[in-house]
Structure formats: C-alpha cells, structure tokens
Subunit: 442 residues, 2 copies
C-alpha cells in the first residue's frame, strides 16, 4: 500500500486514531487489571437489515485489511494521547509496540448477508482486538450500506450500465469508498477521479450545464466539445430546449454522435421523444444517458424506456434511504484467564430489549435447495453439521497478524453478482419485504 | 497545514482528484475553444432545505479553504491522467501550473442559510473555477448536513452537553468531518480521537459492554475501571440488570462516582429510576448519561428526565434523515470574451421544472425587524439597497488565490449559536415546517 504524502484536507497520521476514545480507556483498565491478555473473540454482525431490504452486501473488507495493517501508534499519535492525558504511560508504552497479531475470519467481500450473519470475526487478546472496533465498523457500515443500494440499482438496471456520480453529495473521501462499493454492487463506471486513481475503476465524464452557459450559444458549446472530445462524446441537451438541442447536437456532431445526456424533466417521456428524434435524424446508434435524481425505483420505471445508461448520484452515496448499515462489533467469547490455552467461554449482554445477542464463536453456512438456491442462513456454535461443512461462508483473512490475501476488485464484483444470483428470485424485488431467507440458529 | 504521511487507508496524492472527470474534460474543451479564460462567477446555493427543516447551517468552509489551497496537480496525478488518457497534453501542461488565483466570498462558517442563499461565490477564469466544483460541493454538502442535524439536537438539549459518538456509523474520515460539523452545531465533545487530534475538539469515553463481559462479573469490571480511571469515571450500567449495576457501581466507586451510562431500554423511565436510586444511595452528584439511538426528538422527549448528558451517534452522522444538503455550484455570470475588463453577463439554465436558477452575481443580506430578529433573507444582483448594506452576509475568504483568514473552531461555533438566536422563535421548533424566514429576490 502506498501511504505517501496525500495532501488531504484532513491530516491524521495513522488509522489508529479512527478510534473512539473508550477503546483506549478500556485497554488501560484491562491492562491494569490483568485481563487485557484474555483471549477474546469479537464478531461483526447486524441484528436486522434496513427496513424493507431483502439482503445485505458485505463491502469494505479489503479496506478493513488495509486499516488493520496500518493501525500503528507512531510518535505523533502517542504525543497527542500523552498531551491530552487520554491514557497512562504504561498504556502508551504498550501502544508504541502495537500491531495486531491475531486472526480474522469473515465473509468474503461481495457476499450477501442476513440478520445475524457473522460477517467478520476478530480473535486475539482482548487488548489487541478491542482497539480495532471503531475503524472496522466505520468501514463496513459505510461501504456495505452503499453496496446494498448499488446492488438494488444494478439489479433494476439489468444489462444497462450504471455510472456512479455522487462524489459531490458526500464527504470527499467517503465518495472514493462509495465508488468502490458501488462497483462491488454492480456499477460499471464512476465520475470520481480519485476512485479511478486508487482502485482502478473506469472513469467517465464529459460536460455540465456550465459548459453550455459559458459559450455564447448552445451551438458554440457543442462545437467546442466535439472539436475537443470527438464525435463519440456525450452532449448534454437540456440546458435550454431539449428538442432544439438534439437537433443541433446531431447537426454539429453528425450521426456518429456518441450519446446525449438528459438531466431534468420527465425522463420517461423525454427519452422516448429523444429516441424518436435521434432515429429520425439518422443517429440510430447515438445513445441516451439519463442522470436526474435516480434511485432504484426510478431506474426500474425506465426499464421500458429507450435509455442506454443511468447516472446515479445522491441516492447511491446516501444508501438510498439507508446511509449506514447497523453492524456492531461484539465480544462473544473470552477466556477465563490469560493463561495460554485457557478455554473460551461464550459471553453476551443480557439486558432486556432489542440489544441482546447470542454468545459464542459462530460458524455460518448458507443452506441450498436441490436447485442450488439459498434457503437459509444457518448460524451455530460448536461443530458444523455434515451437510453444511462445504457451504460455510467464512474464510480466513488474517492469520497471526498477516493479511493472507488481497483480491482484485473485479473478483469481488463478480462474487457479488454470483451470490445474488443464487438467492431466491424475490431477493431483487424492490418492494419492501423481509430478509429473503430466514436465519436459523443451531 | 500539515500534510505529512498520513498512513490512511486511501491514498490520493492531492485534493485535485476529489473531482468529477467532466470538470477536466470541460476544461480541455474550453481551453481549445479559447473560452476557458472568460471571467466567470460560480455560486453555491440550495434550491430548498431538506423537507420540514426551518433553517440550514453553513459548515465546512474552513475545510474548503484547505482543499482549495491543496488543489494541485503533481507528477503522480498528471501521470494518472495521462495514462488513462483523460485529457490531452495541452491540458496536462495547463494543470501542471494550476493554482487557484481567483476570489472567493461566502457566508461565514456557522451562519444559517435558506433556499437561494449564495453561501459561496467563486470568481476567476472559467478554467480555474470549474475545477473546484466537486470538492467544494462534497465538503459543503456533507458538513452542512451534519451541522444542521447537530444544531437541532443542541437546541433540543438546551444546556445539557451533547457527545458526538457516531464514528462507527460512517466512513472513517467522514466521521472526522462530522465531529467538526457537530461541534459547529453545538455539540460539546466527541468520542473520535482523530477529531480531537485534527481539530482540537475535546474527546471523551470510558467503556463499552465488552469491558464488562471481559471480566468474570460486573463487580470485577467496575473495580477494574475505577482502579484505572478513577472514581470520576462513567460506569456503563445496562449490561445485565440496571438496578443491581447501579447499586454495585456506587458500592465500588462510592458516592463520588462521576456518572453512569444507560445505553438501552426506555430511557425516560430508566433515568428516573436510576436518579432516585443514586440519590437514595447518597450519590447525589453522580450524573446520568444516556446514549441509545438518540435523535433530536428523543432528546427533546427527555427534557424533563433527570439526564445530564446525551451521546448521539447514528442520527448525527447521517444528518438525522438528511445525510446531504442539496447544494449546487452554478455558473451565474461570465464575460462575453476573454479580454480583461469584459463585462460579466448573467447566465442561467432555462429548462422547465425544478432545476432552473437565477443568473447574475448576487449579494445577500438578512433583514431584521426592530428587535433584531431576522425577518427575510434578501438576495439580489446589482447595488445593495441602503438599509441592507450593513446586514450583508458574504465575507471575503480568498483574494487573488490567497486564503485571507482562518478561524478557530470555537469562533465558528459561537457564530452559529448567535445566528440561530437571532432567528424567529419558531426556528428551533422540531416539527416539520417551512423555512423560518422567506427568501426575497430584489
């Protein structure tokens, strides 16, 4: 990983500070009490999917691995913690040597998940594991929320490509992660150059209304764009009058014009009219791109319209109504003492209400029917039943502190498409519903 | 600004890549057409507030100034753009020398805003201004959305302090900006260490349920925490049974116990019971902190409960239902030619529907009644009417490319409190409504 000078508008010297203070105060108290060395198992899961959603999408795992690897307390960080009197000197000395030496298992990135799915399991001493809580949740909660929205949109779009263009609607670095998550969820391209730079996602973009307004008239603007970007470019045709603009676009670029973009109005109606007009002008190969406040429902409603590609912004980067997944990072088992080999004991919060959870280190498997369609998310502790061993979902990601494998983003994207395809057909219904398969505890 | 090696999980060498590709392709086409040098005025504004909201809060301006200052195309960035064939060599050469040399005026950070308020105005050549669109909008849309939610929450909380603890619910760097925006909106502290490091926001935190579960019993956990963090610490009392935990907390820490935290259940009911129990145990000074899925409505509903502080996570960092402000960056005027001194002409998109806007470089002033209460946001082009000159809202932020002034965050926070206090009383009603003052165009 290249961690060269980033010139970012936020300067934080390590992923170690993407951390809630209480992780450090718990560490200090546990070290003093002699309990920090107890072997511990933390699991990441969600108690429920966002209301009405039928499946979740695991995204961000690759970023979690980067964050764990770069979780170090250097002199700048330690100086800050000392100056603010956040932890004592014993704890600072411990942090100076910190690096995660434990194991991480998890659902591979791009997999789908359901309520209770143990999508990440972090094992090691309490001290080394508790510190990672905040940054792991930040990444998985954000990226999975975006990927879930992206997956619904890509399902609604079918074979038509989706362009991610939401950078301006979210934090500038959240935007980069959102592009990545959108790609995992099935988007084809992004407008965000940083996402192209960092993750190799194909980038696209041609012009905005400002470009038309800069010029003395629309014809000058179109000519300037075609002169510079070629006839294959996409001309934006809704600055003044769409019909007139389409006529002029084909006049300027010829029937080889790559595409026109429509960014306002009744897209269903306008797309039909523009298609007819383009065909009448002989521009039968010129594509139509639409980009106005789309979400998965608007995309679905345009399925029968002559649209060739969709650009999605706000609704993608805000998770289409659900900007965060509600994943938690819970201690589910720990040893009774710090002695090596001390057995793990399940633990769980016992309070009444919705915040209870199931203790113990869990395995997870997706049971399939005779046709290979998922029928249940099966979660348990102890031995995995015979028929489920080969359907287990968790893979080893980090062993003894070493990241085992990194994947190309295309592999993650393909995995998501394959996992979604193995769900029951109702998974991709856009209407509100329950999780498409039940979670069974054994 | 310190831009030293950040060790972040995203590596982007400059703020210049937080940019949609079309900004660069428009630049290329404008340079080729000779229109890139036309003097231009872009304005940031929103057509509407989020539904039901009565005012907006300008936040992120300080971060915008950092981003503009660091908007440079170094060898790494240029190499990427060349390799991907995103722009031509002429444009690459122009970008290599890029630095913004224009002027920026805007509402001072922390001010309130309304539909149409020109909260930022960027002036210079089209070429140098158009490039800044994406990163400016990313910052203002994110930070203002969070600050608006924070402002409603701090208004609902009255004199009781609010703790920002949403880092785990949003992108790890969005979390840092969210802490900053929350502070602007009136929050007192944050759990996010990176926000403390970067912005000097006071940080807090003691322990989570995992700490209790790590130990053999609640008493051991409380004792370990008090031994390490002192009697003034906050003990989390809802891991098992709240009544038993409160009893034990006071037994372990004595009546000097700093606070107890309740993170689940019916907070109104539980807070009353816990207060009574603490008082009966002689812990009359021990405070009660509540932290379970709070938003401004839940905070308001606890106004009569014996609660001393609120911790807010998810709803803060997701803007309490509105995770982004809908600000746009629009070309509102440009010269007819690139000649120095060529007069500016107003321009605006003319299409039907909601995306039209008003052309021309605008001033803005807040008209007040005889008691100093705001009664209208007045926006116009041309000369400012006499009675409004001293009520103008925009200040000069960047002159000839130089950032004029940076402010301590406390000054921004104080400005917001003062600006909100000058709004009509109904501004801080939580119920859904229209903008609390009308926008008038003159």
């Amino acid at each position: 990983m290249n961690t060269a000078d980033l010139g970012l508008p936020v300067d934080v010297p390590s992923t170690a500070l993407f951390t809630d203070q209480y992780e450090l105060t718990m560490l200090q108290a546990a070290l003093k009490a002699g309990t920090g060395d107890r072997r511990s198992v933390f699991e990441v899961f969600t108690r429920r999917l966002p209301e009405g959603r039928r499946y979740g999408v695991v995204a961000g795992t690759g970023r979690v691995l980067d964050a764990v690897e770069n979780f170090r307390f250097d002199a700048g960080v330690l100086g800050f913690l000392r100056e603010r009197n956040i932890v004592d000197e014993t704890t600072l000395a411990w942090l100076a040597d910190y690096r995660f030496t434990g194991d991480i298992w998890g659902y591979p990135e791009g997999e789908v998940y359901f309520p209770g799915s143990p999508i990440l399991r972090v094992e090691g001493s309490f001290a080394e594991c508790v510190l990672l809580e905040t940054v792991i949740l930040s990444i998985l909660n954000h990226d999975s929320a975006i990927a879930a929205a992206a997956s619904r949109m890509s399902s609604a779009a079918g074979d038509r490509p989706l362009i991610e263009m939401g950078a301006r609607r979210t934090h500038e670095l959240a935007a980069v992660a959102a592009s990545r998550a959108a790609y995992v969820g099935g988007f084809a391209t992004t407008s965000d150059l940083a996402a192209g730079f960092r993750y190799g996602i194909p980038t696209v973009g041609t012009s905005a209304h400002a470009f038309t307004l800069l010029h003395d008239n629309e014809r000058d603007a179109f000519r300037a764009q075609v002169d510079s970007l070629g006839r294959g470019t996409t001309l934006l045709v809704d600055t003044y009058d769409v019909t007139e603009a389409v006529r002029m676009a084909v006049e300027v670029a010829g029937p080889e014009l790559g595409a026109v973009r429509i960014d306002s109005g009744d897209l269903l109606l306008v797309a039909h009219r523009v298609r007819q007009q383009l065909d009448d002008l002989g521009a039968t190969e010129t594509k139509i791109v639409v980009t106005s406040d789309l979400d998965e429902y608007a995309i679905a409603s345009l399925a029968a319209a002559p649209v060739d590609a969709y650009g999605v912004g706000t609704q993608l980067v805000t998770g289409s109504g659900h900007p965060t997944a509600s994943m938690v990072y819970k201690l589910v088992a720990r040893a009774h003492s710090a002695e090596p080999g001390a057995p793990l004991e399940p633990v769980a919060k016992k309070s009444l209400g919705a915040k209870s959870s199931m203790g113990g280190r869990k395995w997870a498997a997706r049971r399939e029917d005779a046709y290979g369609v998922a029928e249940a998310e099966v979660i348990g502790t102890g031995a995995v039943p015979d028929g489920l061993v080969e359907h287990q979902l968790q893979v080893e990601l980090v062993k003894g502190g070493e990241v085992l494998a990194r994947e190309p983003l295309d592999a993650v994207r393909d995995r998501h498409a394959a996992a979604r395809a193995r769900l029951p057909l109702s998974a991709t219904q856009l209407s509100r519903g329950e999780a498409v398969i039940p979670t069974e505890y054994v």
